[in-house]
């Protein structure tokens, strides 16, 4: 049986980031296992939004660190061919008079305190940035220039390639069937292709994190929620220069960004369809849904009332009760470190999360404290609930 210094389960954008950071930190022999292929899970379906706007302050720190990596990806990986597919178009967020206004004001102030550049814009300035939208109802408009979107699949494969160059072994098509335990400690994993030994196992399994509950009895408070994303072909261009836009005024808390040419990628930010069994296969998107979202889009982007549906797809979030991840050791399972429950905002945190989980796994101090993200919080009640209530802008 082969022996490793660390085994990572799941080669999505989080797992491949963890693997890279483990190697970078000098971990020794690292093995990554994925049931399918690198990035073939929920990572490929990410809308790729990058921002540091969060109402939960700990997230801002992780997001800031992650942003600087995205902004400097090739250099960070030491691979000049690597690309994150970054479009740095900035992030615009607005709220009308109403319950979202004060939370927005506080979040923007919080970002400023953390040293993130945030501008409050008037309607004219917002219009200049995003001419295809109207801001008649906006009571507060925030803009962060250091934001945009990138390609999660490219990032996952970029981290994976860099990890391989540092000697990490990545095996695809391997399903972990159970954890191997000895004296109450994790000593390895058993898979459909044999057993692998390690005293340190890091699980980054996203919607499949329920496996941990199966293997250890420790509950995994994650639900798989499927969300639909639409690509609308408008009469006007949503160019790469125009910012990502979060509309706190819309009933669905829509977010949208350029999808190239005249196309807009748009999705709802709130509750999706809970799946009984974790599965990231494409789901049906009803015409009713398209018409509903289309109507909300048309409110903000009048010319898109005539838009055509160019394409659509679904992505699945691993949602926890407070829409924030569980990070760190599982106290009842020595040797196991977890990172799951990103609730639809994992990609933007993936470089930072990969670093801190790797540090934790190696017994090093973590650059960002993990205590707020502990699994324990669901028992103690210290939830990391965002000011906006449910939804992925936590």
């Amino acid at each position: 049986m082969q022996s490793f210094d660390a085994i990572v389960i799941g080669a999505g954008v989080i797992g491949s980031s963890v693997a890279f950071h483990l190697a970078r930190l000098g971990a020794g022999k690292v093995l990554v296992l994925d049931r399918l292929q690198i990035g073939a899970g929920t990572s490929t379906q990410s809308s790729g939004i990058l921002r540091t706007h969060y109402s939960v302050i700990e997230n801002v720190e992780l997001a800031k660190r992650s942003w600087s990596v995205f902004n400097n990806f090739a250099h960070y990986l030491g691979d000049e061919e690597a690309s994150a597919g970054l479009v740095k178009c900035g992030y615009l967020i607005c709220a009308p008079e109403g319950p979202k206004l004060e939370p927005l004001r506080q979040s923007l102030a919080g970002q400023e305190r953390m040293g993130v550049e945030v501008r409050l814009l008037d309607k004219t300035a917002a219009q200049d940035l995003l001419p295809i939208a109207t801001f008649d109802d906006a009571a507060l408009i925030g803009y962060e220039p250091e934001a945009g979107f990138a390609d999660a699949y490219l990032v996952a494969t970029g981290f994976a390639r860099a990890a391989r160059r540092l000697g990490v072994k990545i095996m695809e098509g391997v399903t972990v069937e159970r954890l191997l335990m000895d004296g109450g400690r994790v000593v390895g994993v058993e898979t459909n292709q044999g057993s692998f030994h390690s005293n340190t196992v890091i699980s980054t399994q996203n919607i499949w994190a329920g496996d941990i509950e199966k293997w250890t009895g420790v509950p995994t408070p994650v639900k798989a929620e499927r969300h639909a994303v639409l690509a609308l072909e408008g009469p006007e261009a949503y160019s790469f220069k125009m910012p990502v836009f979060k509309d706190l005024g819309s009933p669905g808390m829509l977010y949208c960004r350029s999808y190239g040419g005249n196309q807009m990628l748009v999705s709802e930010g709130i509750v999706g369809e809970t799946l009984a069994v974790p599965d990231n296969e494409q789901g049906d998107i009803s015409m009713d849904y398209v018409v509903e979202v289309g109507a909300q889009v048309a409110e903000r982007f009048p010319s898109f009332g005539e838009a055509g549906l160019a394409s659509s797809w679904t992505g699945v979030y691993d949602v926890t009760p407070d829409w924030n991840p569980v990070l760190g050791r599982l106290p009842d399972v020595p040797g196991l470190v977890v990172g799951y429950g990103f609730s639809g905002h994992g990609f933007k945190l993936s470089p930072g999360v990969g670093l801190v989980l790797a540090q934790e796994a190696l017994g090093l101090p973590t650059d960002v404290p993990l205590a707020p993200y502990a699994h324990e919080r669901f028992r103690s009640g210290h939830l990391l609930t965002g000011r906006y209530g449910l939804g992925a802008v936590s």
Partner: protein
Amino acid sequence: MHVMVLVKRVVDHNVKVRVRSDGSGVDTSGLKMSINPFDEVAVEQAVRLRQAGQASRVTVVACGPAVTQDVLRLSLAMGADSAIQLDTGAGEPDGLMATEALAALVKREQVDLVLCGKQAIDDDLGDTVPMLAAWLDWPQAMSVNRIELSGTALRVDCDGDQGLERWSLTLPAVLGVDLRLCDPRAISLPNMMKAKKAPISTTRLEELAQAAAPRSSIVSCTTPPARAAGLRVPDLPQLLAHLRQVPALNPTA
């Protein structure tokens, strides 16, 4: 000229289907379904003919249970004028019976040209067009990638075995279209709203065709053995070394 388009609701082409663990068939419940991509092209072509004034009406027809109406609504949103669901109830009718019913519908609706995708991406049989043409005793053309219509003279380009074939057919005719015929439009949101409310008429399959036992049935399904991954060579010289040993590339060996 009245154009009828046959559309099928199939598992979306991006979805990986799985065989049931007991091997009894493919489980499509919960899988994303879409209009057969080849049929979507046929709808687009028909709507373009109407928009160019060469056709007066476009009717879309789908065979299946009530849920099939999804693809009919989509076709209406693309610009079809009316839609008919040939209701098959819960069962999967035999293709021969379905095409007999379609032929009756074609005659009842006084159709001059039937367009349909050349194959459905689920069964990959590609037999609907030829069977319908047989029932109607109409000329047919398959894998059509270009259509030229003038009066009752129809000229089509088809992918043949040796290359492109250009055929002229007299109407009425049945055509099986290829993806290259045209690009389906992105449906506009206003058209989607209209299609949501448009009526769809239903006719039961048994009313138009004689009940017949299925000619064949699927008894089991398996996943084909995966082709094993082979060897990765590190460089060109090694690639050459390996290829030189392949008999088919070494004619004098």
